[in-house]
């Protein structure tokens, strides 16, 4: 008996997911993967050795990577944790990359060629402070030493094994260390900083053993502000607290002297306070007043003189020693469409080592950072290359007046994604450039045929594979029958829109949004939402779809909003405006006007609703449905959920007929001492549900799914348990989940999981919700499912009623009818913690669903929804088995073949987006994080299309051969018949 049982199980499991995995040659046919690193904040070149030239970078997304200087490809990359921010990188011993991260508490060394970690040490100190990492040329017992100031303590660490050789605390409580300087060729370091905001402190410390050689301090009544610039190894430049007086602080031989120079003495028409651009260039520094960058020279005698005032946007790079006593630095200035890269010698402003002008794509915005590196040209002179970081977070390498390579690293920080259809193929639109000629087409088919008949040589097979991967069919710029070709429009944190082609992931267009551009009126613009604005169906041939981008100026929710409309085909900004109101919520309404623009409600911080587009027609449509529009708000911080209806007029003073007030209809107040909202999830607005009925084969019964678009899933935990897993005991923690109707505020279901805690990831689809949390009692992650069924439809089962028409199937459904819902739920253990969860969505909703789970390993795992069926039981009856119910197990299986990312990783996975294709069986999956991954996914195989490797040519040839054979045999038989008759 157990054997048959096991066999049955085995059979069921093996029959469940037969084709989720891929064959080796199918990789790359429908999927693509792109790797990014994020906005670079520090770069160190490694070009001295022969061999592959590379640059080591650290980024704002906590990535450490080395890039190939020739092509910009990633050699290796490490993504540090979310709170492991990289503070500094240096290259030591020519083979180690040393990184300081996690607020200066973790020091790691990575092997430069392959990125293996060599050692790691943790540094502790008494208090938080700025973290500084300085490579020294001091040698202690054959160990090269790197000096770190972090957490209020100075450490000297051996580069070989990461051992802390000595450390030193500073007695002054309020010391804010600004720089750690090692004068060249000396055995001591200066630690300089400000204390109590008006004292300058200088410590001279023996680098060999950490002994304090000298401590000097000087008071300056005006106070200090901001950053400092180093103009020699014993001179600093700082600003006083008003930003109007320049201070030259010299600490030569232990004597500190402060010399003041008002900026107005140097610059006649100086307006407002200045900001120092931190740098360490010999005898030169730069300050910024408003938008003007001023370069000031510090002469040996301590005199300051202005060498240049640059009105254009300017970025300055750090100094680079090119020979004994000579320093060069890079400077990039914008001039219209071009940028000028200048490399100058530090002591000689007039003499440019290099001056190049490069045409720059306007969509990249301003240059934010410059890193220069020198090389020896073939003629023996010095050449310079520059790595520049742009406003849109892209990274470019400039050399010899040209862009050698560029990386679109803005795509590492996608905020929101939407899709757009491609243009319809029509006579006027030429797609010829991607079309193959007849000969190549024939050649391709001959090759394929050879492959099918197993006559192909290895070269042919390679050619076939290349053809399949580079098929022009999938990267055409027109719509296809299956709906596989679309544009993925992504809004990034830098305020740039990218349109990616789903066929091969290339960037079709990109647009740096002017409305999300930093300006006087809008200091810290951030993008919020991206919604499809106009999707033409009736005028698909002559109108382009467009998207709506919503953003706001600043992080707080009452900052004024900005919106802009962008054409999805051309990537042109159609219009943009800054709004008078703030944007707290964007609600797309299910109505469109005659030009097929979707109506949107923007809710501001004062709970006023603003209707867009602002046309009389939109008002007309809106007024008709006015009484049926409800919305809700979730106030996570104080645990109140409120529902609203609209009022005809805004309360405000200004008469605005597109503005509507709101009235509170319901509220749910969660007790603040026992519950804290940690997750809310709703159904996707455009989800298709094929049928409301669910057939229960076991007892020949029908259940009706409770399908309401107005359901909200809310998960709360005990306030104590909202921290890390393991910070509370099971008795103190609980997780409560709610299903709330957002029109009436009815709590349809409430259930408590004791001894469980967040983080909660959930997905809501059709009539079920699946959520993931941690069970403290079982020490495991759990996934639960809740399915909701509507009982009030249960009396529609009578066929006679249906025939006679006495049913309520056609009556409109009102939320105000008391719904009798029943819920079924079940919990299962799950091995992984997860980063994101989504569900497949298909065009008609017929295909069975699979959950897409973004695992902690940054992969996407497909899990059949049937595993999360609350009706699973230990011994399903025969009828239940036929229905596809899997025998109950306590944990959900992880089938290695069902990773849809196969062997790839989507580093830093943040979101999974599913888009239905036109083909019912297939859904398009886009996963984004640092990396991007896209694939087609068929939850129950591609039952509605031939497989990709089906050879049409072979079929045709077979038919032709058969027809020919019929004719030949017919002729032969006729001849034979004739001969027989003549006999």
């Amino acid at each position: 008996m157990p054997i048959t049982h096991a066999f049955l199980l085995f059979f069921i499991f093996s029959s469940l997911q037969p084709t989720l995995s891929l064959y080796e040659d199918q990789v790359g046919l429908t999927d693509w993967h792109q790797q990014y690193i994020g906005k670079v904040k520090q770069a160190v070149f490694h070009t001295h050795k022969t061999g592959r030239k590379r640059v080591v970078v650290s980024t704002e997304d906590n990535v450490i990577a080395t890039l190939d200087l020739r092509r910009g490809e990633i050699f290796w990359r490490h993504v540090l944790g979310h709170n492991d921010v990289v503070d500094g990188i240096v290259i030591a011993l020519g083979k180690y990359v040393i990184t300081l991260s996690s607020e200066g508490s973790i020091l790691r060394a990575w092997n430069l060629p392959d990125g293996q970690m060599v050692w790691e040490s943790s540094l502790h100190g008494p208090k938080h402070s700025k973290s500084l990492l300085v490579m020294t040329n001091v040698v202690i017992e054959k160990d090269n030493v790197v000096i770190i100031f972090s957490n209020g303590r100075l450490h000297a660490v051996s580069c070989i094994d990461g051992e802390v050789l000595w450390n030193k605390d500073f007695e002054v409580e309020s010391l804010k260390v600004q720089k750690v300087i090692q004068p060249p060729g000396s055995n001591f370091v200066y630690v300089v900083g400000f204390a109590a905001s008006s004292h300058f402190e200088m410590y001279q410390i023996n680098a060999k053993n950490g002994e304090l050689l000298k401590h000097e301090s000087a008071a300056f009544s005006g106070g200090f502000s901001g950053e400092v610039s180093l103009v020699s190894s014993e001179t600093l430049v700082a600003l006083d607290s008003t930003g109007l007086i320049l201070l030259r602080i010299r600490f030569h031989k232990g004597n500190v002297s402060i010399q003041q120079t008002p900026i107005s003495n140097l610059v006649e028409d100086s307006l407002g306070p200045a900001v120092i651009i931190p740098s360490s260039i010999m005898e030169l520094f730069a300050i910024k007043i408003n938008a003007v960058t001023i370069f000031i020279r510090v002469t040996g005698t301590g005199k300051l003189e202005v060498v240049e005032k640059a009105n254009h946007e300017t970025a300055v790079g750090d100094a680079l020693s090119i020979s004994e006593g000579q320093q060069a630095f890079g400077l990039v200035q914008h001039a219209g469409r071009d940028i000028h890269l200048t490399v100058k010698l530090a002591h000689d402003w007039g003499g440019d080592l290099l001056k190049e002008s490069i045409k720059m794509d306007q969509q990249r915005g301003l240059v934010h950072k410059v890193f220069i590196n020198n090389y020896v040209r073939t003629d023996g002179s010095y050449g310079f290359r520059a790595l520049i970081v742009m406003e849109d977070h892209s990274l470019l390498l400039l050399q010899q007046g040209a862009i050698v390579w560029s990386r679109e690293d803005g795509l590492a920080s996608i905020i929101d994604v939407t899709t757009s259809e491609l243009p319809v193929e029509r006579a006027g639109v030429s797609v010829a450039k991607v079309e193959l000629n007849l000969f190549e087409w024939l050649k391709g088919h001959m090759l394929k045929l050879k492959g099918t008949l197993m006559l192909a040589s290895p070269e042919d097979i390679a050619a076939i594979q290349y053809m399949r991967l580079k098929s022009s069919e999938k990267s055409k710029m027109t719509r296809d029958h299956n709906g596989f070709r679309k544009l993925l429009i992504a809004l990034t944190r830098a305020g740039k829109l990218f349109a990616l082609h789903t066929g091969d992931g290339r960037i079709v267009w990109s647009l740096l949004l002017q409305s999300l551009h930093k300006s006087e009126a809008c200091q810290h613009p951030i993008g919020l939402n991206l919604c499809p604005w106009q999707v033409p169906h009736h005028h698909a041939l002559d109108e382009n779809p467009s998207v709506l981008v919503v953003g706001r100026c600043g992080p707080s929710s009452d900052a004024p909003g900005v919106i802009s409309f962008v054409d999805s085909y051309t990537g042109k900004e159609l219009s943009s405006s800054s709004l008078v109101h703030s944007v707290a919520q964007v609600i797309p309404l299910p109505y469109t006007d005659s030009t097929e623009q979707r109506l949107h409600l923007l809710i501001d911080a004062d709970k006023h609703a603003h209707l867009y587009p602002k046309t009389p027609e939109a008002i007309g449509i809106f007024q008709r449905e006015f009484s049926n529009i409800y919305w809700y708000s979730v106030e996570d911080d104080n645990g109140i959920i409120k529902g609203y209806a609209l009022k005809s007029k805004c309360d405000g003073t200004v008469a605005d007929k597109f503005c509507f007030g709101s009235r509170e209809l319901w509220s749910i107040v969660l007790p603040s001492e026992s519950e804290k909202i940690i997750a809310t999830v709703t159904r996707k607005l455009n989800e298709a549900v094929h049928t409301q009925a669910k057939l229960i084969a076991a007892d020949q019964d029908v259940m009706y799914k409770y399908i309401s678009r107005n359901l909200l899933f809310v998960a709360t935990v005990a306030p104590k348990a909202s921290g890390e897993i393991g910070s509370v005991t099971p008795e103190e923690s609980w997780l409560v989940v709610y299903l709330i109707d957002t029109v009436t505020g009815f709590v349809l279901h409430r259930v408590t999981h004791h001894g469980s805690q967040g983080p909660v990831e959930a997905v809501f689809s059709e009539n079920w919700v699946v959520y993931h949390y941690f069970n403290l009692r079982a020490h495991r992650y759990e996934m639960s499912v809740i399915e909701i069924y509507d009982q009030s439809w249960a009396d529609n089962k009578d066929v006679w009623k249906l025939v006679v028409g006495k049913h309520n199937l056609t009556s409109p459904i009102s939320s105000y009818s008391r719904s009798e819902v029943v819920t079924k739920s079940q919990s299962y253990f799950f091995t992984h913690s997860l980063k994101a969860i989504a569900v497949t969505s298909t065009a008609k909703g017929i295909t069975s669903k699979q959950l897409l789970i973004g695992t902690i390993g940054d992969q996407v795992l497909a899990l059949d929804k049937r595993f999360l069926d609350p009706r699973r039981s230990v011994n399903p009856t025969q009828a239940e088995r036929e229905e596809g119910i899997i025998p109950l197990t306590d944990s959900l299986p992880i089938i290695p073949q069902s990773y849809i990312t196969h062997n790839l990783r989507v580093e830093g996975l943040r979101g999974i987006i599913t888009v239905p294709a036109k083909l019912e069986s297939t859904t398009l999956v886009f996963a984004h994080g640092l990396d991007l991954f896209f694939t087609h996914f068929a939850p129950s195989r591609t039952y509605d299309s031939l497989t990709e490797d089906f050879s049409c040519a072979l079929l045709l040839i077979t038919i032709v051969v058969l027809v020919a054979a019929i004719f030949v045999t017919w002729v032969l038989s006729q001849r034979k018949e004739l001969q027989d008759k003549w006999r």
Binding site: F11, R663, I668, P671, E732, G745, F746
Partner: protein, 296 residues
């Protein structure tokens, strides 16, 4: 039949609240077993979680600090508003608070007395019915120290309420002494479009249900035995040997066809030889394509 009636009556009394317009009826709430625990029954199912969940709210004025598991009476008011008007008192809930030995408190035996509409309120309500507007109610979020953090508001389209009289249904979601939410509406359906219908009687019949949180089902934990049955604890389960037919049916069927074909051929051969004279025509009867050709 009688028994059915009795059962129906019991069910009715369990759910229905006596209200003022009826003749005398005991205002003793017959507690629903599921919601409140049976009167006189052994210790009601205690929601253990409550002990940790609701911090005991000490209100010396109302609570008698007597024995453990003590009871105390409590009242809190229901306010209502017509459309956007201000809230005014509409009725009173009275209940008993059970304090458990470990500090948790639960609300039981809820009763509700509804004030009848005054004539002005009737007029307001009529206006609501005519404009298809909202009738709103509110409850304090903490019954011991009303209104607690905020009021719990719920509303319904006024046209949903009138039947014979005015029917209303409260489902009060509780967490200890905190009211989380109230589902307020008509007891039955309220089909859209809502038609204007004035109630015959201007009195409320109210149904009240208290709901506490349910416990989630525990994830099934299997014993080793069952787990062992599934994947044999690491050892690979050999699929049992399939029968010969199950393995090779796809070869056997064509083979069978070929054999039968060959046999019929062989059967025909002697016939052909027997007829001798017209071998070709006999053969053509057998062979499809040639016979088709012949017909032309």
């Amino acid at each position: 039949m009688d028994t059915i009636k009795v059962v129906a009556a019991i069910i009715l009394t369990i759910y229905l609240f006596p209200f003022l317009s009826f003749g005398f009826q005991s205002d003793e709430l017959l507690v629903d077993d599921e919601e409140f625990g049976l009167e006189g029954a052994p210790q009601p199912r205690f929601p253990e979680p409550t002990s940790t969940r609701s911090a005991p709210v000490t209100t010396a004025t109302r609570k008698r600090h007597s024995d453990l598991d003590s009871d105390s009476k409590i009242e809190f008011s229901l306010d209502h508003a017509f459309g956007d008007s201000d809230f005014s008192p509409a009725g009173t809930f009275s209940a008993r608070i059970k304090t458990w030995s470990h500090g948790g408190q639960t609300l039981t035996k809820l009763r509700f007395s509804r004030n009848n509409f005054t004539s002005e309120e009737q007029k307001k309500f009529k206006n609501l019915l005519e404009s298809d507007d909202f009738y709103r109610i509110r409850l304090p979020s903490n019954v011991l120290s009303p209104p607690g953090r905020d009021f719990i508001i719920s509303s319904v389209k006024a046209r949903c309420l009138p039947r014979e009289g005015l029917d209303e249904h409260f489902v009060i979601h509780l967490e200890g002494v905190n009211v989380l939410a109230v589902n307020y509406g008509s007891p039955g359906s309220c089909s859209y479009p809502r038609n204007l219908k004035l109630p015959v009687k201007w009195s409320f019949s109210s149904y009240t249900v208290l709901k506490n949180s349910e416990q989630a089902p525990r994830a099934p934990i299997f014993t080793e035995e069952i787990l062992g049955g599934e994947n044999g604890g690491g050892e690979v389960v050999q699929p049992p040997e399939r029968s010969f037919w199950a393995k090779y049916w796809m070869y056997l069927i064509p083979l069978g066809l070929i054999i039968t074909n060959a046999i019929t051929q062989a059967m025909n051969m002697p016939e052909e030889q027997a007829t001798g004279q017209v071998p070709a025509s006999a053969g053509m009867v057998q062979r499809g394509p040639s016979s088709a050709a012949r017909r032309r």
